[in-house]
């Protein structure tokens, strides 16, 4: 019996050793053709419609360009320490450029410097980072916060109680929007902020908070950081009259603004397809083109029926933004490319 136990252990070791040798032996590396590129993507918020669409736009642009052989995704829910590890993983995978949606403004500086030192450009999409090497592609988030707040305060006639439903605590875009919000608020002394909280850009959390607001306090207006359509739904649940509400360009929210009687609101554009712009910039850099280090889109306020109908796409996934073909940056010419969500080789 003791012999019986002896042999399997030996055999196991031998098999493992052989496997190790084989694995080490077939370490053939094909770096790929000279003219094709690999893009790396680091995203730290999964299961979020905006981020999913951002990634789909990256894939769509990579496919449309025709010179990308693979988009390597590091896509998981994690924090700054996790994103630092993920970017290191992308560097290790030998990608040619890295597109990130940063979880922190300055904590990624050192890992970005490392990527740059290894010849890999880093493009920060959606929110800025302090790393001097990084390229920055974003909606102007300070303006996003400001124009929406201004619209709300104007609509209320400069007076009233408002709820301030923010995004993800600590996220640079949230901080920037707050800067814009605070700037607008300073000019309207009659506006009182009676509620301030973070939705984490989670539609269900936003809904919960909205229900809490509508059932426990009197508000004259609500500003949301893009968590909009689930908030609108709560008015009916709570059985209260609509108050003016500011959201983003989510298709479901646009539809509500078009079709719900008694609802007044504005969508401020914040297209997730900025990811496609990020991919376009990354490829421009890799192709040796002259690229500006900062690309800022100016947000627009959508509140008239014409504007709303202009961007609305029927039968789009809830939470997806209607504005997908961002000219003149992206190469794909049809929103369907983003909806298909197919990258090279998929």
């Amino acid at each position: 019996m003791s012999k019986k136990t002896k042999f399997p252990a030996w055999r196991l070791l031998t098999v493992l050793a052989v496997f190790a040798l084989i694995a080490a032996a077939c370490g053939g590396d094909d770096e790929g053709g000279d003219d094709t590129f690999t893009l790396g993507v680091s995203n730290t918020l999964v299961g979020n419609a905006w981020r999913e669409q951002m990634i789909c736009a990256i894939k769509a642009e990579a496919l449309a360009r025709g010179n990308v052989d693979e988009v390597v995704l590091q896509n998981r829910n994690t924090d700054v320490a996790g994103q630092i590890a993920d970017i290191q993983t992308l560097i290790s995978q030998g990608v040619d450029a890295i597109i990130i949606n940063p979880a922190d403004r300055s904590a990624l500086d050192d890992v970005i410097a490392e990527a740059d030192a290894q010849g890999i450009p880093v493009i920060s999409v959606d929110a800025p980072v302090t790393a001097p090497e990084a390229y920055f592609v974003s909606n102007n988030q300070v303006e996003y916060g400001e124009v929406g707040a201004r619209w709300l305060f104007e609509t209320l006639g400069g007076e009233g109680k408002v709820a301030y439903m923010r995004g993800l605590d600590g996220h640079p875009a949230d901080t920037d929007r707050d800067t814009g919000w605070v700037a607008a608020l300073a000019e309207y002394p009659g506006i009182e902020v009676v509620y301030e909280n973070w939705t984490g850009w989670d539609p269900s959390v936003g809904a919960q908070q909205a229900l809490e607001i509508l059932t426990t306090m009197e508000v004259d207006g609500i500003w949301t950081s893009g968590i909009d359509y689930t908030v609108v739904e709560q008015f009916a649940v709570a059985g209260v009259d609509y108050v003016p509400i500011v959201g983003a360009d989510n298709n479901a929210f646009i539809e509500q603004l078009m079709n719900t009687s008694g609802l007044v609101g504005a969508g401020v554009s914040n297209p997730p397809s900025i990811g496609g712009v990020g991919a376009a910039i990354a490829l421009d850099i890799l192709e040796g083109k002259d690229v500006s280090q900062e690309t800022l889109l100016t947000p627009v306020v959508l509140d008239s029926m014409d504007e709303l109908e202009g961007v609305y796409i029927p039968d789009l996934t809830a939470g997806w933004s209607s504005y997908m073909v961002i000219e003149p940056y992206v190469t794909y010419s049809d929103a369907q490319a983003v909806i298909d969500c197919k990258g090279p080789g998929e």
């Binding site: 019996m1 003791s2 136990t5 002896k6 252990a9 196991l12 070791l13 493992l16 496997f19 190790a20 694995a23 080490a24 077939c26 370490g27 053939g28 590396d29 770096e31 999964v46 693979e70 390597v72 995704l73 590091q74 896509n75 998981r76 829910n77 924090d79 700054v80 320490a81 630092i84 590890a85 993920d86 290191q88 993983t89 992308l90 560097i91 290790s92 995978q93 030998g94 922190d104 904590a107 050192d110 890992v111 410097a113 490392e114 290894q118 605590d169 600590g170 984490g200």
Partner: protein, 337 residues
């Protein structure tokens, strides 16, 4: 030469060796699996050098420490869902207090945080032994309490630490580089100390005794309650050490890090490391490669072209597989005995 034949002599020297292999086979297996995975990973990526090794060792450190924390407590017959919360709490406390401080001060603060964590978590252990409420209930509470306290300590992500402190856990003043040695030494020293304590000292061995059979331990003169409180104290300190490593890597703290997920990772790591969830069986040394493997799944799946979101599924399947495998091994061992 005596009358003993050479064959018997060989058999005599082989027996303890075989016994050692039987006792430590799992530990050896997990280490081998780790090196196998690293060898495989090296073939998947264009270049495998110091940067890649440092990246794996450094970033796996928090999970390794957290897994050791969980291992100590589970071996002693408990389970601590609060370790992830303790990691976050210690990480943000360190980030808040260490910001702008010189290296010496950050070290003193680190020691104080470890001690405080040990004291706080021994309190959790004390409540469990006094109340007779199952560990899983009390520590679910402590998870939420720690996470809430973390938000109170650092409401917005931020804080900082000294460059020397970052070097201590990452081999670089910036938290990133090509030097895996400081992290490796930190892990080796900490784990060797706890392994020595658990394997060679009376108080450490009493963890196994109390964990495998409380009544028998009591009858042989071991105060099982005291042992459990001690295990929770050591576990708390290791969870805090994981938090310090986290702060060193990120260079700041973030109270919105979900401690519950970290706890689940620590449980997954100890299962893979061969620690029996029923208590009394396992070693801290086997938990180290298990923790690294769990961290490592993400890079390796990415290199294989698998979507990392399915890493969680694979992790889950792995746990079930390991549990089934250990069950079968145990069943065969009993049948043979």
């Amino acid at each position: 030469m005596t009358s003993t034949s050479p064959d018997a002599l060989v058999a005599g020297t082989q027996a303890p060796w075989r016994r050692w292999l039987r006792r430590h086979g799992w530990t050896l297996g997990v280490w081998l699996l780790l090196f196998l995975l690293i060898a495989y990973y090296a073939t998947l990526i264009p270049r495998f050098g110091a940067f890649q090794v440092a990246s794996i060792v450094n970033n796996a450190t928090p999970l390794v420490f957290l897994a050791v924390a969980q291992a100590v407590i589970v071996i002693a017959g408990g389970i601590d869902l609060g370790v992830g919360g303790m990691l976050v709490l210690s990480s943000v406390t360190a980030a808040r207090l260490m910001e702008g401080q010189p290296f010496g001060v950050t070290i003193v603060l680190a020691v104080l945080i470890l001690l405080a964590a040990a004291v706080i978590n021994s309190g959790v252990g004390w409540i469990i032994t006094r109340s007779n409420v199952p560990d899983i209930v009390i520590t679910l509470g402590s998870l939420y309490v720690f996470q809430g306290l973390a938000l109170a300590v650092l409401p917005n992500p931020g804080g900082g630490t000294s460059e020397g402190f970052r070097w201590l856990f990452t081999g670089s003043d910036t938290g990133i580089g090509t030097n895996p040695w400081p992290a490796a030494v930190m892990m080796t020293v900490a784990v060797a100390a706890v392994a020595w304590w658990m394997g060679k000292t009376r108080s450490g061995l009493s963890l196994y005794a109390a964990g495998s059979d409380r009544t028998a331990a009591f009858l042989s003169g071991i105060n099982a309650d005291r042992v459990k409180i001690m295990a929770y104290a050591v576990g708390g300190a290791f969870a805090a050490l994981a938090g310090l490593a986290n702060t060193a890597i990120a260079g700041r703290g973030n109270a919105t890090t979900v401690g519950g997920n970290l706890t689940l990772n620590s449980v997954a790591a100890i299962v893979l490391g061969g620690v029996a969830l029923t208590g009394g069986i396992g070693s801290a040394i086997a938990v180290v490669p298990a923790g690294i493997i769990l961290f490592f799944l993400n890079p390796i799946l990415t290199a294989m072209g698998v979507d990392p979101s399915s890493a969680q599924v694979i992790q889950g399947v792995l746990i079930v597989f390991v549990m089934a495998a250990t069950g079968i091994i145990e069943w065969r061992r009993r049948r043979q005995a």
